[in-house]
C-alpha cells in the first residue's frame, strides 16, 4: 500500500499543478473540493490517463472515478484491487 501510495503521490506531482508539495498530501487528504487539494474535473481526466499509463488501470465511468479518485488511499486501494501496482 505504502509503495503504491507513494507512486500515486508522485503521479499527482508530475501530472498536475498542485498547490502543495506531493509529500505533504496525506493518504486521506480529499483530492477534490475546497477542503482538500481543490482538483477539478479536468484534473480528474488527467489523473485517469496517468493512472492508466502508470498502473494499467482503466477508469472510464464517472461514478467509479468519483469513488476511486477521492484520495491517495482510495486510488492506491483501487490499483491493488485490480491486481496492479
Amino acid at each position: 500500500m505504502n509503495e503504491v501510495a507513494q507512486r500515486v503521490r508522485q503521479l499527482l506531482a508530475t501530472r498536475l499543478k498542485l498547490a502543495k508539495a506531493a509529500e505533504e498530501v496525506g493518504d486521506d487528504t480529499p483530492l477534490f473540493g475546497p477542503e482538500g487539494l481543490g482538483l477539478d474535473s479536468i484534473d480528474a481526466l488527467e489523473l485517469v490517463l496517468g493512472l492508466e499509463k502508470e498502473f494499467g488501470v482503466v477508469i472510464d465511468n464517472r461514478d467509479v472515478a468519483v469513488k476511486v479518485l477521492a484520495s491517495v488511499r482510495t486510488i492506491a486501494e483501487y490499483v491493488q484491487s485490480q491486481g496492479k501496482g
Binding site: 480528474a44 481526466l45 490517463l49 472510464d60 464517472r62 472515478a65
Partner: protein, 140 residues
C-alpha cells in the same frame, strides 16, 4: 464526403476552419482539410505583407476537427489546451491536414490528440479537452 457532418459544427462560416472531411471513424478519429488562402480575412492583419495563419486559429481548426467526433446534436466548449506546439508557419496556398483522435473521456469531458500538417510535415500539435455541454444523440 461529410458535408452534412461539417454542417453539424455550430460555427458560422466566418469562423469555420474546416473545409472538408477526408476520413472518419465516428467518435474515434477524423482527418479533415483546411485550405489557407491569401484573401482569408484574418491574414490581412496577420501580418500585412507577411501573411501567416495565426497559431490560435490552427488550434481552433484542430478543436473544430475534434468537435466532429461528438455525437449529432451535441455541443461543447473548449476546456483545456495542453502541450500545444507550433512547428512551422502555415502560409497562403497551404493545405492543412488535421487529424483528431479521442484519447480519453470521463463524464462530460473528452480529450483529443490533434495534429496539423502541411505536405506531410508537422505544423502544429496539441491535446485538447472539450467539455460537452449538451450530449446530443448518444447512439450516434
Amino acid at each position: 464526403m461529410g458535408s452534412d457532418l461539417l454542417s453539424r459544427l455550430p460555427h458560422g462560416l466566418s469562423f469555420r476552419f474546416v473545409d472538408r472531411i477526408l476520413e472518419l471513424a465516428p467518435g474515434k478519429r477524423v482527418v479533415a482539410l483546411k485550405n489557407v488562402t491569401l484573401n482569408d480575412p484574418h491574414l490581412q492583419g496577420h501580418f500585412p505583407g507577411n501573411p501567416l495563419m495565426p497559431g490560435v486559429l490552427l488550434v481552433e481548426a484542430m478543436a473544430q476537427t475534434a468537435g466532429l467526433l461528438l455525437p449529432e446534436g451535441a455541443s461543447a466548449l473548449l476546456a483545456q489546451i495542453k502541450e500545444a506546439r507550433f512547428r512551422r508557419p502555415v502560409v497562403p496556398g497551404d493545405q492543412v491536414r488535421i487529424e483528431a483522435e479521442l484519447v480519453a473521456e470521463l463524464g462530460g469531458l473528452r480529450r483529443f490528440a490533434v495534429r496539423a500538417s502541411v505536405d506531410g510535415l508537422l505544423a502544429a500539435e496539441a491535446e485538447i479537452v472539450l467539455s460537452v455541454t449538451k450530449p446530443g444523440d448518444t447512439t450516434g
